[in-house]
């Protein structure tokens, strides 16, 4: 592969519709919350209270409920736009972060497995997600010990990279297939030489 067709966030972008879907869902949750709050909770509650402080607190809460649906999509776009990935010949180079930045380099030989998943809504709008896992830090048995409650639910983060997982969601389905194939080829051309397998 020559330099012109290196896979980056530009050639295989996270689709805006994924960002909208993902963060608007939380906005909708906030709106439902808002309706329940103003329609049911507040009318039944406000009759009994004359305390200024309590009324102030209730209004503060409602401001929060209004602001969340506006803030969430903006944050979503920022997260998406500051997430950079580049699949080079020997390393995956990743950068993320809005305020605190982080950068990570992953050698292909260290990849444990690749996931290609499609959620139900993702499937309807023609998207797919890629997740790449390494065996670093909190990915293995350690996180089981740390976090006994969540041991059955380790889908990990949804966008970005943290602990042992690199998640690239919301790719076009063809892009996701393409990326998976490319990673597989890179793994093949970067064999590991110390055989860390348990066998």
């Amino acid at each position: 592969m020559d330099n012109s067709n290196v896979i980056t966030e530009k050639s295989h972008p996270i689709q805006t519709r994924w960002v909208i879907k993902h963060f608007v869902i939380w906005g909708l949750v906030a709106i439902v919350n808002f309706i329940i709050f103003y329609g049911f909770y507040l009318p039944s509650h406000i009759k009994h209270t004359t305390e200024t402080f309590e009324i102030f607190f209730l209004h503060l809460q409602s401001i929060f409920v209004v602001i969340v649906p506006i803030i969430l999509p903006i944050t979503g776009m920022l997260i998406r736009n500051t997430y950079h990935y580049e699949f080079g010949k020997r390393l995956i180079t990743l950068k993320q972060g809005i305020i605190s930045k982080s950068e990570r380099h992953v050698p292909y030989g260290r990849i444990q497995n690749i996931f290609l998943t499609q959620g139900f809504i993702d499937r309807l709008i023609g998207l797919a997600s890629i997740a790449i896992e390494t065996a670093s830090d909190s990915g293995g048995a350690k996180s089981l010990l740390k976090d006994k409650k969540n041991k059955a639910s380790t889908p990990g983060i949804i966008i970005g990279f943290s602990s042992n997982r690199i998640a690239i969601p919301g790719l076009l389905y063809e892009d996701a297939l393409n990326l998976k194939e490319a990673i597989a080829t890179f793994i093949k051309s970067n064999p590991i030489d110390d055989a860390q397998s348990g066998l």
């Binding site: 996931f115 041991k151 348990g198």
Partner: protein
């Protein structure tokens, strides 16, 4: 619907009993639920002098609903069985499953930590096995297994995976020395 075939699935097929086995828990719980309702209803009716025919009608209705739901679950499991895909390619193990939210896992052979085979209660009754193959991550342990294969296919799968893994490791070692 067409069955998702691969070379590996042709060679080591999933057992046709798999959908039934996966429906068994719901069948058993439905039967228990139905028996409890039947006994409870009849006892209550005789104690409180309710009309038997009405109670029986309600119970039969519940029974019909339960069997319908079991049938639908069975149909879903058949569908699941049809889209279940696994392939041992030259360099990777690929497993793809689930109907509505498909997920696919790709594991390089060098990264397989262990291959282990287990059976639960219904597996033993039906003579089926689950072949688990995980890499060093938790989610792969949860997702990467081929379940519902019979004895011969299990042994074949295990043998071929272990062979490929050691071959790969040997080759990697040879490269470095």
């Amino acid at each position: 619907m067409k069955i998702a075939m691969s070379k590996t699935r042709e060679q080591f097929p999933l057992s046709g009993k798999k959908p039934l086995k996966k429906t068994m828990p719901s069948i058993v719980s439905s039967v228990i639920f139905f028996v409890v309702i039947l006994a409870g209803g009849l006892i209550l009716a005789s104690l409180l002098n309710w009309s038997f025919s009405l109670i029986l009608l309600i119970i039969i209705l519940i029974g019909a609903l339960l069997s319908l739901s079991c049938f639908l679950i069975y149909q879903y499991q058949v569908w699941y069985f049809q889209v279940y895909f696994y392939d041992l390619t030259d360099d990777f193990i690929i497993i793809r499953k689930r109907v509505l939210t498909p997920m696919e896992i790709t594991i390089p052979y060098e990264r397989i930590q262990d291959v282990y085979v287990d059976q639960d209660l219904f597996d033993r009754i039906f003579g089926l096995y689950d072949v688990h193959l995980s890499s060093a991550t938790i989610s792969s342990g949860m997702e990467a297994h081929i379940d519902g294969v019979e004895k011969a296919a299990t042994d074949g799968l295990r043998k071929i995976i272990l062979e490929k893994v050691s071959e790969k490791i040997k080759r990697a070692k040879g490269g470095s020395v």
